[in-house]
């Protein structure tokens, strides 16, 4: 299924994130599949990079675990081929891995080609602003993949413009910039950002700090087309790993959490309708 197809549906999309290979290749396969069972509409599958400058400590640790367990770009592609899910997979990573895959010639083309090969539908490249993205955009166009950009509450109008020109699949709306622990009501900032890009013709998925069905509901109510959730799921993987839980048990918890979030998101539509 393409990303377009997902967001074409009336339902808000639930977009969970996990780092591929955390805490091991095998377990990770189970976990990603559990997400789909729990209701995932798209999966943002992290390809771990050694310098994850944009991650909080939760995801950072997930990346460290995955790298330690042997995850590499090549293994990642195998993972995507092997994992048994039908929903689209978006590769979330840092630019150096994409760039370096090109070998001595450099550039993103080879990486995108291989990603297309294994059925990846699009990319979120955390450290690649629109201004630096043209080579990747071209390769994505060549192989029919989407390139998702992140919009932050602080993104200027000028920069919105350059993203709008290049974005496809969906836009990732970062819910807030605030410091952890000092968060104001997430939906206000989100609503403002959504408002600024309301006339864009791509779906808007919101992420950053969403942990519960309740959050998801509010985000959707604020107008999001999708809800992105990472840390809350990675926490479950981490706890399972640290507590030496059987993989199946952790997978079940993930599935349950996914279901809670998905349900919350669905409630958001209802509520939005109701409150109108």
């Amino acid at each position: 299924m393409s990303l377009d197809a997902v967001f074409d549906s009336e339902e808000p999309a639930f977009v969970p994130y996990l780092a591929a290979g955390d805490p091991s290749y095998e377990a990770s396969l189970e976990y990603v599949e559990a997400l789909e069972r729990g209701g995932a509409d798209v999966i943002e599958l992290g390809l771990p990079f050694s310098e994850p400058i944009a991650e909080g400590s939760t995801i950072q640790s997930a990346i460290v675990r995955a790298l330690k367990a042997g995850m590499t770009p090549e293994r990642y592609f195998e993972f995507v081929e092997e994992v048994d899910v039908d929903v689209p997979i978006v590769c979330m990573t840092y630019y150096n891995l994409i760039f370096q895959y090109g070998g001595s010639e450099g550039g993103p083309r080879k990486f995108v080609e291989r990603a297309a090969d294994v059925g990846i539908e699009g990319f979120v490249v955390v450290d690649l602003p629109a201004e630096e993205a043209d080579p990747l955009r071209e390769a994505c166009d060549e192989f029919g993949l989407d390139l998702i950009f992140i919009v932050a509450p602080t993104t200027t109008d000028d920069r919105l413009e350059s993203m709008r020109e290049r974005v496809s699949g969906y836009v990732y709306v970062q819910a807030r910039t605030g410091v952890t622990g000092a968060r104001e009501d997430v939906s206000d900032q989100t609503a403002q950002t959504l408002d600024r890009i309301s006339d864009w013709d791509v779906p808007k998925a919101v992420g950053f700090g969403i942990k519960t069905g309740e959050h998801a509901e509010r985000i959707v109510r604020a107008g999001a087309d999708g809800v992105i959730v990472g840390s809350a799921l990675v926490d479950i993987v981490a706890e399972g790993h640290e507590g030496d839980e059987p993989v199946a048990e952790t997978a079940e918890k993930l599935e349950a959490k996914a279901r809670e979030l998905k349900t919350g998101a669905l409630r958001g539509v209802g509520a939005a309708v109701e409150s109108e």
Partner: protein
Amino acid sequence: MSTDEPADGSFGQYGGQYVPEVLMPAIEELEDAYRRYVLDNEDGFMDEFRERLADFGGRPIPLQRADRLSERYDTEVYLKREDLLHGGAHKLNNALGQVLLAKYMGKERIIAETGAGQHGTATAMAAAHLDMPCEIYMGETDIARQRPNVFRMRINGAEVNPVTVGRGTLKEAISETMRDWATNVEDTHYVIGSIVGPHPFPSMVRDFQSVISEEAREQIREKAGRLPDSVVACAGGGSNTMGAFAHFVSDTDVDLLAVEAGGSSLTVDEAEGVAPNSASLSTGNEGVLHGARTKLLQDSDGQIMESHSVSAGLDYSGVGPELAHLVDEGRVTPVNVGDDAALEAFHRLSQDEGIIPALETAHAFGYLEEHPEEVGDLTIVNVSGRGDKDLETVIEETAKRDLDVAPDMSVFEQVGAGRLGSRGDRE
């Protein structure tokens, strides 16, 4: 100041702004401030910067003829004495510039990363001087092995935030500082410690550091009556390097030699993800790290490798994009010097000239020892910092090796181990 470089901060194919979206506004704000205050001296920013560098920092810094080295190498050796700058290294040129800039920008909080602690201490000093709250991120491994610098930061009133992720060293501290910046962009300025990171940092840090070569160029003409045949500087991120080179770049007869840490070997261990050196200019290849496209130590997948050097300040997997470009252009020659040779050079400079250099700096002198024929008849070596911070490391690393020029430290064993004969006896 170079105002003739591309406004997007690219140096050939290097440079750029590879940062998370949330940082882009801060980066853009900084670009704007850089242009206005630094390049255009708005509100007299550069005047105040220069004045504070003079009064607080101790500039101008002398260019000293090194009598014994000149004799040893049969070439005129001049030393640019950045070790005399307040704080003991060139780092303050940049830290003071950025903290002052943050003040002009209305920021209310300073953050910085530090590895060996040199940039952290410089930033803490500048922040105290300018009355700005300051937090320094530092890997827990580094905190444990760089105690004196942690003391200095704390004593200057800075918070030191331990980074416990990964190996707990500089790379992790940079990532953590970026993360802090991403969440506190509005009131916070991130003082990057070298000519690395996204534009405008590489240009801006170079501009703040270029006072080194601005002075040196004038001083050498006055003292020697001509330009040097070469300028030699060690290169980690490359800020002292570009600082020492900047005003000589257009003097194409002046060779510019960037001395990287050769560590224990130039061969990497891909499996372990470790390069036993920090020679990214000499052995690295192109990639994207910490916001910029540059030369990197990375494995074939693009994962960043741990670097290694006996000198903590050179121990970094990347290098400034401008240096990467100047190397590709053939304008800068990348060379490298291993741990042993750097330690020997450390002892030699200390014994022969009465200057205890930083271990980083010692690499530049190691090159002079190994290739005196490459520097021409008149060379300037940038003494990027003093070695007080390195004493424990040097003693330890020297004891492990069989060096030609090492002092012995048995005086500590003599103490308390019985009476030493006095030399004089009256009756």
